[in-house]
């Protein structure tokens, strides 16, 4: 009894909060529009959306959010307000397991055949029922080989080389427990998100040995540290490495032999989407080879569209960080069940930093 009552009060409180937070959010159904939510910063370029609006007369309402969690709670609170979301792999898994997603009708998506099979059938959607891969990014090392040599260190080919004493205060890394524990686990030959206490303990000790080499933990602009010379090697996302290389040609990408993490942002449709037909039109449009090539060129994310390859500009095609080889992609893996390990990893990470 008590629990249902608290639950009711809780639900009411929640409802009140959401009503306050969300009044003013666009809506409406059945009309010529689509409500789409995803990341800001031209993640789905305005140019592409304009073209779609002109071609079809369907208006796209674009809602910018700053986290996967925000997308999930918005979709949970207003399942009939949003049609599409572009969200990261693990969140596709959570949303589908929570029953929030529509099974896509492939009959309405003839362009799905353009999607590179290497990005299909992943753990979060084994049968490609719920999601369409849109943007791919991976993490790897960006290195200044000259500076590494000047410090007297061995050339860097993988994570294990980051532990060299010569690199003291010269490494910059993404600031996230799961990412850093992943780096350490891979360097020891394990998989991401291990939960076996013995392996976690081993990784913890190895992590502590890395402390002195890290000059900066930075998620948004780690490439700056290589450009301004305060670090000689950095573990970062591919789009950041691309920026770093563009700013300083001395910098070189290193795809660690031990393996790398991959993130795929995918389109998903709300189960109660008000404008499903329009949404299918947009999904099919995004998968047109020319459109997809243009998107990749603007956003600098690797293309998931194999038919787009011939429409990509030369400098994109020749850039190994943008045009990922299948060999590199095959050496990547996802962070699975992140929520199950973060508490432990976050604790280790706090201890590591407070050392």
């Amino acid at each position: 009894m008590v629990s249902t009552r608290t639950r009711k009060i809780f639900a009411l409180t929640l409802a009140a909060i959401f009503v306050f937070a969300l009044t003013g959010c666009g809506g409406g159904s059945g009309s010529k529009q689509i409500n789409l939510m995803t990341w800001g910063g031209d993640f789905i370029p305005r140019e592409i959306i304009n073209q779609f609006e002109e071609d079809t007369g369907i208006k796209v309402n674009y809602k910018e959010v700053t986290s996967n969690e925000e997308m999930q709670s918005l979709l949970e609170a207003n399942p009939n307000q949003y049609d599409l979301a572009v969200t990261t792999d693990y969140m596709v898994d959570i949303m589908r397991r929570n029953g929030q997603l529509e099974v896509l009708d492939k009959g309405k998506l003839p362009n799905f055949s353009n999607i590179n099979p290497v990005y299909q059938g992943n753990y979060y959607d084994e049968n490609d029922e719920y999601s369409i891969p849109y943007a791919v990014s991976i993490s790897f090392l960006l290195v200044n080989p000259e500076a590494v040599e000047q410090l007297g260190a061995e050339p860097i080919t993988g994570y294990k080389d980051l532990w060299q004493e010569e690199l003291k205060n010269n490494v910059v890394v993404i600031d996230w427990s799961v990412e850093i524990m992943g780096l350490v686990l891979k360097s020891l030959g394990y998989e991401y998100n291990e939960t076996d206490p013995a392996i976690v303990e081993e990784a913890k000790q190895k992590l502590f040995e890395l402390k002195d080499n890290i000059v900066r933990f930075e998620t948004n602009t780690p490439e700056d540290s290589l450009i301004n010379g305060e670090a000689v090697a950095g573990f970062m996302y591919s789009n950041q490495a691309v920026k770093g290389k563009a700013a300083d040609d001395k910098l070189e990408p290193v795809f660690p032999v031990e393996g790398m993490p991959i993130y795929i942002d995918s389109f998903v449709m709300s189960k109660q989407a008000p404008n499903k037909d329009n949404a299918y039109k947009l999904l099919n449009f995004i998968m047109e080879p020319e459109v997809s090539a243009k998107i990749s060129d603007i956003t600098k994310f690797a293309s998931t569209n194999k038919a787009a390859a011939e429409f990509l500009p030369e400098d994109f095609k020749n850039n190994p960080m943008l045009n990922l080889s299948d060999e590199v992609v095959e050496n990547t893996s996802f962070y699975i069940d992140v929520a199950a390990v973060t508490e432990e990893y976050e604790h280790i990470y706090s201890e590591f930093k407070m050392k």
Binding site: A16, D175, E230, A339, T342, E343, H347, M354
Partner: protein
């Protein structure tokens, strides 16, 4: 009858109270409730009562994070006090026209985004920053001096960001000070320092306590400063809560930390209320 009159008198305050009640009260209750719930492996909230989250924040590692934040906030309060007090005292003694100029100058930085101003410090203190370049040009040093990414850099950031609050709070106190008391003190034979410690300081204590509170509380939560200037080398409460909520998908634990942080703030407010209550007796007498 008396009650009706009172209600009428306070009527204008009701909308504000309702506003605060809704926008501060409800989220607070929400956080409090969340901190007592569990979550499943997907990060969803499970309606199961537990005290585990509170048990966890008393872990030695997390207590160190609390201590680190407390230290940062306290040091920020003390440094802004020592720099801010003379500035406020001097400003209050200026003639009215100059005084308003000075106040504008103190408030001026607020017109620029605090994020931008934090980036300013990176440009100043970085390895290829202005200061290092200057020192190297002058041949004082031959390799860049590492000034970024430490506790000290974060402290510089929070001090810089919050010092106007301290100055304004003390300024208001000094401004109200009855200067004839200072004359009386000197007539009775007290020297400058003695007058300061026996008269000025006790009488401006409410301003000091108010300024300290205004500086202490926000410095607990300014996680962007420690992210940008601290290079993530230190963990403070704000960072921990931020990463638990977003990437960690552990809102119950994050809520427990928030409640802990609210506790710290309440402690400071309690001390503040004690100081202002006893101001007539003075703290240093």
């Amino acid at each position: 009858m008396l009650n009706m009159k009172r209600i009428k008198q306070n009527a204008p305050a009701i909308p504000i109270l309702v506003w605060i009640g809704l926008l501060v009260g409800i989220p607070l209750i929400y956080v409090l409730m969340l901190s007592l719930l569990s979550r499943d492996n997907l990060g969803n909230i499970v309606f199961e009562f537990t005290l585990d989250n509170y048990r966890r924040i008393f872990d030695p590692v997390y207590l160190k994070v609390f201590l680190n934040s407390f230290l940062l906030a306290t040091l920020t309060g003390l440094i802004t006090l020592f720099i801010g007090y003379p500035v406020a005292y001097f400003t209050a003694g200026l003639e009215p026209r100059k005084r308003s100029y000075a106040i504008v100058l103190i408030i001026l930085p607020f017109w620029i985004s605090s994020l931008l101003r934090t980036y300013g410090w990176i440009i100043l203190l970085g390895n290829t920053g202005l200061l290092n370049n200057l020192l190297m040009k002058l041949n004082i040093i031959n390799a860049p001096l590492p000034m970024m990414y430490s506790f000290g850099t974060v402290l510089v950031g929070t001090t810089y960001m919050l010092i106007p609050f301290m100055i304004i709070a003390i300024f208001n106190s000094v401004d109200k000070l009855d200067r004839s008391l200072l004359e009386a003190s000197s007539d009775l034979g007290a020297g400058k320092w003695r007058t300061f410690f026996k008269i000025t300081l006790p009488l401006t204590m409410p301003g000091i306590a108010g300024g300290f509170t205004l500086v202490f509380i926000p410095s607990l939560g300014m996680f962007f400063i420690s992210d940008l200037l601290g290079g993530g080398q230190n963990i403070f409460l704000g960072n921990l809560i931020n990463s638990l909520v977003t990437k960690g998908r552990n809102r119950p634990l994050a809520s427990a930390f928030s409640v802990g942080m609210i506790g710290l703030v309440l402690l400071v407010l309690f001390i503040y209320s004690r100081i202002t209550k006893n101001k007539k007796e003075g703290l240093f007498l």
